[in-house]
């Protein structure tokens, strides 16, 4: 199959899957089979694109010219491919997990769930492969809308409230800030294509560029940069598979991916490096990292703690983008993948604990390791990856980010990274440690077994991935290198 | 003193304002329609007075006369009068139906009944 066709198929296949899932609503087993087949097919397509990229091909697809000079177009480039690979691989894993979870929990509206999932993945692929900012914006908005039913899945009052915050913040930032920035860019340059070295060089004063960049960074609400981060903890009301994929991989990663894409391909690193507004934004990112870590420490609800941890980790990726040097971009790009694997492991474990024990608060989880050893070991591995310790892949991305801060002379931010790692240890490690080393309360864990088998399989896969990425980060590293060396 | 010579326009303005005043301040629906009619009449007079040519006679071709008043505004006003009549008829029909439904044609009473004005 030609690379050209593969490219648009990556978006068409999940959409077709969504339609099939909707039609098979009454028959759960075929419906689940469709999800698995679709996710597998998607990953196969992405792998095909890997080979194309290695061979030096750069296919592009133009669907339709919606506005004069603004086509809906997709193309293949390293950053997008990395994001797409992570998302599509983890979709397979999450689907397996979700099947186990949703059935064990006897969740309602499962057809709507799987259908919305597929549409969300289709739009994620669209974000990954967008060839211009217009296409990216379209897919970004579709992602927001398709994840709304997932966030509000349970239909309770709390879910409704969370949905309002979710939609309000994400649509508010995207329509109020990002769209303004996009139209402004259009008036300045006459194009919205993504190009190496950016499209804005020489079109406006540094002050204008600074304001424009700030509009983009705050307008991309999915990156959860403070003060527009509130939607992330609110969205934790969703079922765990949703939190796992969407809020550890697809939605938040789409946000930081967009920031990276805008920084590298719309502004260009040279333009950003010399601009004083990026300094100010760096401090916002640094503050986000620290404040979110501090708040995470105070959360007793496991998912809430993981949510704030995610906000903090996203700050890392934004930080790398704002450093505007090749080491920073390298670190950010790697962190997209490393954090995805680490966080999804943690969320899977949280969900497994919920299904097996009905416990959500960390204070209830001491001694759990005796009853659920596999889950808690995986939690330990995931924590190590987030903290950035060997033998997990998270170490590499933190390493390059730290190097990036040194290279840019931002020693304050280096200190922020160090302190944040310590804070990560403080709010993540106690959980598995207490689970294994402390004795459980009398009689509280009798009869608790490990999570359902599909969930366990998924957990094992992702924790294995965390470790594997330590020993073999080459494929990702090579992609990231392609991004910064052009 | 040229102002007095423009008496036709003063009449127009007076009628227009009187009609407008009636529409706005009177609560009785029939009186509103009457006000509307006054308002429209002022416009008729405006057109007619614009068509009068000094020294002109009625616009019927005749060899004795050289100057005629402009016939076009007369035609326009005939159309406008018809429109006015249709509007009045429709308005009054609506008032009859409102009377049947509400039992009154006073605006404030209808508002009390239904919060509809």
């Amino acid at each position: 199959m030609s690379a050209h066709n593969t490219l648009w198929l990556t978006i068409a296949v999940p959409l077709a899957g969504a339609v099939l899932i909707a039609m098979l609503g009454r028959r759960p087993n075929p419906r689940e089979a469709v999800t698995l087949v679709t996710s597998g097919a998607l990953f196969a397509l992405v792998v095909r694109l890997w080979f194309a990229l290695q061979a030096g091909e750069r296919p592009s697809v133009v669907l339709v010219e919606t506005l004069p000079g603004l086509p809906l177009a997709f193309n293949l480039e390293p950053l997008g491919l990395l994001f797409a690979s992570v998302a599509s691989l983890l979709w397979i894993v999450t689907s397996i997990y979700a099947i186990g979870y949703m059935r064990a929990h006897h969740e309602k509206h499962q057809t709507r769930f799987y259908c919305a999932f597929a549409i969300a993945l289709a739009s994620t692929m669209g974000v990954a492969f967008a060839a211009n900012m217009f296409t990216l914006f379209v897919c970004y908005e579709v992602l927001t809308l398709s994840t709304y039913p997932l966030v509000t899945h349970s239909g309770t009052q709390e879910a409704r409230r969370a949905g309002r915050i979710y939609l309000g913040l994400l649509l508010g930032t995207s329509i109020g800030l990002q769209l303004l920035a996009i139209v402004w860019t259009w008036t300045l340059t006459g194009t919205l294509d993504f190009r190496h070295g950016g499209i804005l060089a020489g079109t406006a004063s540094p002050a204008t560029i600074g304001v424009l960049y700030a509009l983009y960074v705050f307008g991309i609400g999915k990156a959860a940069l403070m003060p527009f981060h509130r939607w992330l903890p609110a969205a934790m009301v969703a079922p765990t598979p949703v939190s796992a994929l969407l809020h550890a991989v697809a939605v938040v990663k789409a946000g930081v991916f967009t920031i990276l894409k805008v920084s590298v391909f719309v502004f260009g690193l040279d333009l950003l490096a010399g601009n004083s507004v990026t300094d100010w934004l760096l401090y916002v990112a640094g503050a986000t990292i620290l404040i979110a870590s501090l708040v995470a420490m105070r959360q007793d609800n496991l998912k809430a703690r993981l949510a704030y941890s995610t906000i903090s980790q996203l700050g890392y990726v934004v930080l790398g983008a704002l450093l505007a040097n090749s080491l920073g971009i390298l670190g950010s790009t790697l962190h997209i993948a490393m954090h995805a694997f680490g966080k999804i492991t943690l969320f899977f474990c949280a969900g497994a604990i919920l299904v097996a024990t009905r416990k959500t608060e960390i204070s209830q989880m001491h001694g759990l390791g005796h009853a659920m050893p596999i889950t808690m070991t995986a939690f330990l591995i995931g924590s190590l990856s987030i903290i950035g310790l060997p033998p997990t892949g998270g170490m590499w991305s933190k390493w390059y980010l730290a190097l990036g801060t040194v290279d840019a002379g931002q020693f304050v931010l280096l200190a922020v990274l160090m302190v944040s790692s310590l804070l990560n240890i403080a709010y993540l490690l106690p959980i598995p440690v207490r689970a294994f080393l402390q004795k459980p309360e009398r009689g509280k864990i009798k009869g608790i077994q490990e999570a359902p088998l599909p969930c366990l399989a998924a957990i094992l896969f992702t924790s294995f991935g965390c470790v594997a990425l330590f020993f073999y980060p080459d494929p990702l590293y090579r992609l990231a290198q392609l991004l910064v060396t052009r | 003193m040229a102002w007095l010579g423009l008496y036709n326009y003063w009449v127009v303005i007076f009628l227009m304002m009187a009609g407008f005043y009636a529409v706005i301040t009177r609560g009785n629906l029939v009186k509103k329609i009457v006000g509307l009619n006054l308002f429209q009449t002022s416009v008729f007079i405006l057109y007619i007075s614009m068509s009068k040519v000094q020294g002109g006679t009625a616009p019927i071709v005749d060899n004795e006369f050289a100057i005629y008043s402009n016939p076009l505004p007369h035609v326009l006003i005939l159309t406008a009068i018809v429109v006015g009549v249709a509007t009045t008829a429709l308005g009054l029909a609506l008032v009859v139906r409102i009377r049947e439904s509400y039992g009154t044609v006073e605006e404030d009473e209808i508002h009390d009944l239904d919060k509809s004005f």
Partner: protein, 493 residues
């Protein structure tokens, strides 16, 4: 042979079908006649648009009397576009009509209903087609009078008072337009718009012409429902029969915007120094106030038809905002939104018509849990709502894009910010509907809460589908709108 007479046929066919409906006095026959007449009008409008785009302006002399003494129909890109959307909405609404009308209007009045509808359609098409200022007034009154009748046919007795209020305000507006036209005639001696455009610059500095401009603008603004002259609109839309609301919401105010465009840019175009002062300083703040105040009021409405009516006032504010920039992009945005909003509101009101057909009411409290019982209807409402908000892939986004672009090009970036904040207000009131329909549990009783019949769903989805189609493929809409904008700013004749 026929193609030479298309401009006249555009208006004559609906006009003559109206009394024929009355002659037969049978509901079914009247409906078929209306549907056929609307479809023929649509075909003619499409043909005219094609002619205008390929050949240039199409003129037609009524009765063979040459302009400027005779009445002339003059079709250029602007009104060809308006003709197309009015006829298209008319046809779709007519295909929706039979069941909805049968459930809302007494049997013996249905033939009268269709007759009034055809007169209204003829009036609107006439306003768009004509090139004579007084002829425009005549058609304006034809469409207005018939719309008063149509609105008064609603089930609720408040439809009568709504129609009465609209009658009073609408007649004042039309009379103001008449005064304006009269003053223009007084100064130039002609009623033909193209001729007026040639002669006005010579007398432009007089107070009479300034007064004429003022009267015309205020009169048309009344018909437009531009804030603060919008008071008739919410009640009229809320209490009229569903089909009437859908038709008038999608066409009436759009044609009024066209009238404003025609007078300001074609007739007064050469005396642009007037507009240079008038438009930005008066229309821009008014339109912004319209957007915000109407959107905020919409959030608190419980009757969904009223909510969408206030939403319409806000959207009209957007159109006038685009107009007030007096640039090609601004006018493109205005004309584009004219078309797009007709699609949006037409689709939304038809979807509401489906709900009213099943439930008998449009009160939000009755909507609980309806999202699951009437999935197709509510999917249509959601898509229409997304279009109102301006989500990409819908026509609303395209309009917003051009509006923001126009604001940025004119250097007034704060207007762009306000436009975008206005869209976010739309999120609030649309999401109220979504939450009640999808999140609240359905009440136990109410067995008539089934999905609306296919004959009602199909026309709704035609319009809603058009929202998405023209949101992705904008060749027709943006292309014609841009040509029309360039045409308007380039001058008349």
């Amino acid at each position: 042979m026929i193609s030479q007479h298309l401009p006249a046929l555009q208006v004559v066919i609906p006009l003559l079908t109206a009394p024929v409906c009355l002659l037969f006095n049978n509901a079914r026959v009247a409906w078929i006649l209306s549907l056929v007449a609307s479809s023929v009008a649509l075909v003619i409008a499409a043909l005219l648009l094609q002619q205008v785009l390929t050949v240039g302006i199409v003129t037609y002399e009524i009765g063979g009397w040459a302009a400027p003494w005779g009445i002339e129909y003059r079709i250029d890109p602007v009104n060809a576009f308006v003709l197309l959307i009015v006829a298209a909405i008319g046809t779709v609404v007519m295909s929706f009509a039979p069941r909805s009308v049968a459930s809302e209007i007494p049997e013996q009045q249905i033939a009268l209903f269709y007759a009034a509808y055809l007169l209204c359609l003829a009036g609107l098409l006439g306003i768009a087609a004509t090139g004579d200022a007084f002829n425009l007034f005549v058609f304006l009154e034809i469409s207005s009078l018939s719309s008063y009748v149509l609105i008064s046919l609603g089930r609720d007795r408040r439809a009568l008072t709504a129609a009465f209020q609209y009658l009073i305000m609408g007649t004042i507006g039309a009379t103001f337009i008449l005064i304006g036209v009269g003053l223009l005639y007084m100064m130039t001696g002609t009623l033909n718009m193209a001729d007026l455009a040639k002669r006005l610059p010579l007398v432009a500095d007089t107070r009479t012409v300034a007064a004429a401009l003022a009267f015309l603008t205020v009169g048309i603004s009344l018909k437009l429902a531009l804030f603060p002259l919008h008071l008739w609109l919410p009640n009229a839309y809320a209490f009229a029969p569903s089909v009437v609301t859908a038709f008038i919401a999608a066409t009436g105010t759009k044609v009024a915007v066209y009238m404003l465009l025609r007078f300001l840019f074609t007739v007064f175009g050469a005396t642009l120094s007037f507009e240079a002062v008038l438009l930005p300083t008066i229309l821009l703040p008014l339109s912004l106030v319209a957007v915000f105040s109407a959107s905020i009021v919409a959030i608190f409405q419980d009757n969904i038809k009223r909510m969408l009516a206030y939403s319409s006032v806000a959207q009209i504010g957007y159109m006038i905002l685009g107009l007030s920039f007096v640039s090609v992009t601004g006018l493109t945005a205005c004309i584009l939104h004219l078309f797009n909003h007709a699609l949006m509101k037409g689709g939304l009101f038809l979807a509401l018509g489906c709900v009213v057909y099943q439930l008998g009411s449009a009160d939000i409290s009755k909507f609980a849990g309806l999202g699951r019982r009437m999935p197709w209807t509510f999917a249509a409402i959601v898509v229409g709502g997304l279009s109102l908000i301006g989500v990409p892939l819908t026509v609303g986004f395209i309009s917003k894009w051009y509006l923001v672009l126009a604001a940025l090009e004119s250097g007034q970036w704060w207007v762009a910010v306000l436009v975008l904040i206005g869209s976010l207000l739309a999120v609030v009131y649309m999401w109220r509907i979504v939450e009640v329909a999808f999140f609240q549990p359905a009440p136990r009783q109410g067995s008539q809460r089934r999905e609306a019949p296919l004959s009602l769903l199909l026309p709704t989805w035609v319009l809603i589908g058009a929202n998405i189609f023209f949101g992705i493929n904008t060749d027709l809409t943006v292309g014609v709108a841009q040509r029309a904008a360039v045409w308007l700013l380039g001058g008349a004749s």
